[in-house]
């Protein structure tokens, strides 16, 4: 096994993973900042590198419908999207989870309109968090590449679709060093797709997507609930297998200098990287600060997070959400709050919302959050807004 080191954007890293997956069908529709994923994939297609059936759809709703049909028919099918595109396909996104189709979709997180905005926040995927998809947040281009491979195996193991989320522009358009697995090892890891219940099988005709009313709908919903609860175990198992190839550890979330931390930030995606830089600097000054980097967001690992936050020193926590839940507390804050509710010593948690519409978050901002946590400034159930002109 060998690795190839390339300079890739997050979007191109995902396209590399898609090339190695070589899905039977890819339906595409451009939307900033996802476009470079399908653009690069189209290039592979045009050059004959992949033997996918490439469908240029007329909208995201159609793209997801095509992918749903193809996956139900019995092949791997992929598309990628962002923001308004994800909102437009929302109806079919829910249907794919209900039909238990293991579709993997890279998503570059982008703000939702109005006002129209092309830059990063997590509103788009947060509004899809209850649809029964698995959500995987990626910090770097490297992680986006590896998680796309892992997602294929995970999706097919539990028969549920997966969103592989990276920050729009920040990750999708920034060039980073990315180690790509050699094609033989990657393809061996991905394996051949054996669909559970392919529609195209004339020996065993079947109906996909029939009506279910008062007598059966509830049971089918419950099936999906049971399935998504099995994700923790399967994710770690498949992660162990991929670890042998990549050397990366795949945990439900990352703990960075959290063990002896007195205060901690909980955040996902690219902002974790910024936070780690700040932590290293503040640790040199003797300040005990740490990070919990959210990776698997749905299903949410309530118990594992509670365990990670259950130590004597940890007093104050800040949860940084890159999305709002207007009229309620932000989504990640709510989930964390529920996680710690079972602990004997419950740390105080401050909610922050940051970076909406791509508003920069810099090291100084993170440092200020840590400093205010160290000073004990925590107002529970009240959101502070980083970098907002009130």
């Amino acid at each position: 096994m060998s690795k190839i080191t390339l300079a890739l954007t997050g979007a191109h890293a995902v396209a590399e993973a898609m090339r190695q997956i070589n899905p039977g069908v890819v339906a595409l529709f451009p939307i900033t900042p996802q476009t470079p994923i399908v653009e690069k994939y189209s290039e592979y297609y045009a050059n004959g590198v992949v033997d996918t059936e490439l469908v240029r759809s007329e909208s995201e709703h159609s793209a997801m419908s095509i992918v749903m049909g193809a996956q139900a028919a019995g092949v791997r099918a992929m598309t990628a999207t962002s923001s308004q595109g994800l909102a437009y396909m929302w109806e079919v996104v829910g249907a794919t989870a209900g039909l238990r189709l293991p579709i993997v979709m890279p998503v570059t997180n982008r703000a939702l309109g109005a006002p129209i905005n092309i830059h990063c926040d997590h509103a788009d995927s947060m509004y899809c968090r209850d649809l029964g998809w698995i959500h995987l947040f990626c910090e770097t281009a490297q992680e986006a590449y590896e998680n796309t491979l892992l997602a294929i195996r995970l999706a097919e193991k539990v028969s549920l679709p997966v969103m592989v989320l990276q920050d729009g522009f920040i990750t999708s358009h920034s060039v980073e060093r990315v180690d790509i697995l050699d094609d033989v090892s990657a393809k061996k890891f991905i394996g051949e797709y054996k669909p559970n219940n392919p529609l195209i099988n004339t020996d065993y005709p079947k109906t996909v997507g029939p009506i279910q009313l008062q007598d059966y709908y509830f049971e089918t919903q419950y099936q999906g609930t049971i399935a998504i609860e099995s994700v923790f175990e399967e994710y770690l198992k498949i992660g162990k297998e991929l670890e042998k190839l990549t050397g990366t550890k795949y945990e439900l979330f990352e703990e960075y200098k959290l063990e002896d931390a007195e205060v901690a930030i909980i955040v996902s995606s690219s902002t974790s990287g910024t936070t780690k830089e700040v932590i290293d600097r503040m640790r040199n000054e003797g300040k005990k600060v740490g990070l919990l980097n959210i990776k698997l967001y749905r299903p949410f690992p309530y118990e594992a997070i509670a365990k990670a936050l259950n130590h004597f020193n940890l007093n104050n926590i800040a949860v940084l959400d890159r999305a709002l839940s207007r009229g309620a507390m932000p989504p990640l804050y709510t989930d964390i709050k529920l996680s710690v509710s079972s602990l004997n010593k419950i740390p105080k948690i401050q909610s922050y919302v940051f970076g909406l519409g791509g508003r920069d978050i810099i090291q100084k901002d993170i440092e200020e959050v840590f400093e205010s946590l160290l000073k004990g400034k925590v107002k529970e159930n009240k959101t502070e807004y980083i970098g907002l002109r009130k």
Binding site: L101, S159, N197, K206, G209, P210, T220, Q223
Partner: protein, 99 residues
């Protein structure tokens, strides 16, 4: 209705892998009203047979109106409305009849 499957017994995602099994989907359970035929008035014109949206009224070999298959009758009352001699009355279906 007592033979409903549990979530563990069902196929993933509600897929139906038994062909021609739509007959097992008994729409009669939706019924609130049931048609009651006054046999003495019926002229066997078969208007009800033709107009039944569920096609659940039989026609016999000697071309007479047959029985109504209550497994599928949703109680829509179309038969009652189209009957030229008004021999079909809609009555409230009790729970016992509905099963």
């Amino acid at each position: 209705m007592s033979t409903l499957k549990t979530s563990h017994e069902m196929e993933e995602g509600g897929i139906i892998n038994i062909p021609k099994s739509s007959r097992n989907f008994k729409t009669g359970t939706w019924r609130t009203f049931k048609p009651v035929i006054d046999e003495s008035k019926c002229i066997h014109c078969a208007q009800c047979v033709i107009n039944c949206p569920e096609s659940c009224i039989d026609i016999t070999k000697d071309k007479k109106r047959g029985a109504i298959n209550m497994d599928y009758c949703k109680g829509c009352s179309v038969c009652s409305k189209v009957c030229p001699v008004k021999c079909i009355k809609m009555e409230t279906d009790t729970k016992e009849d509905n099963k």
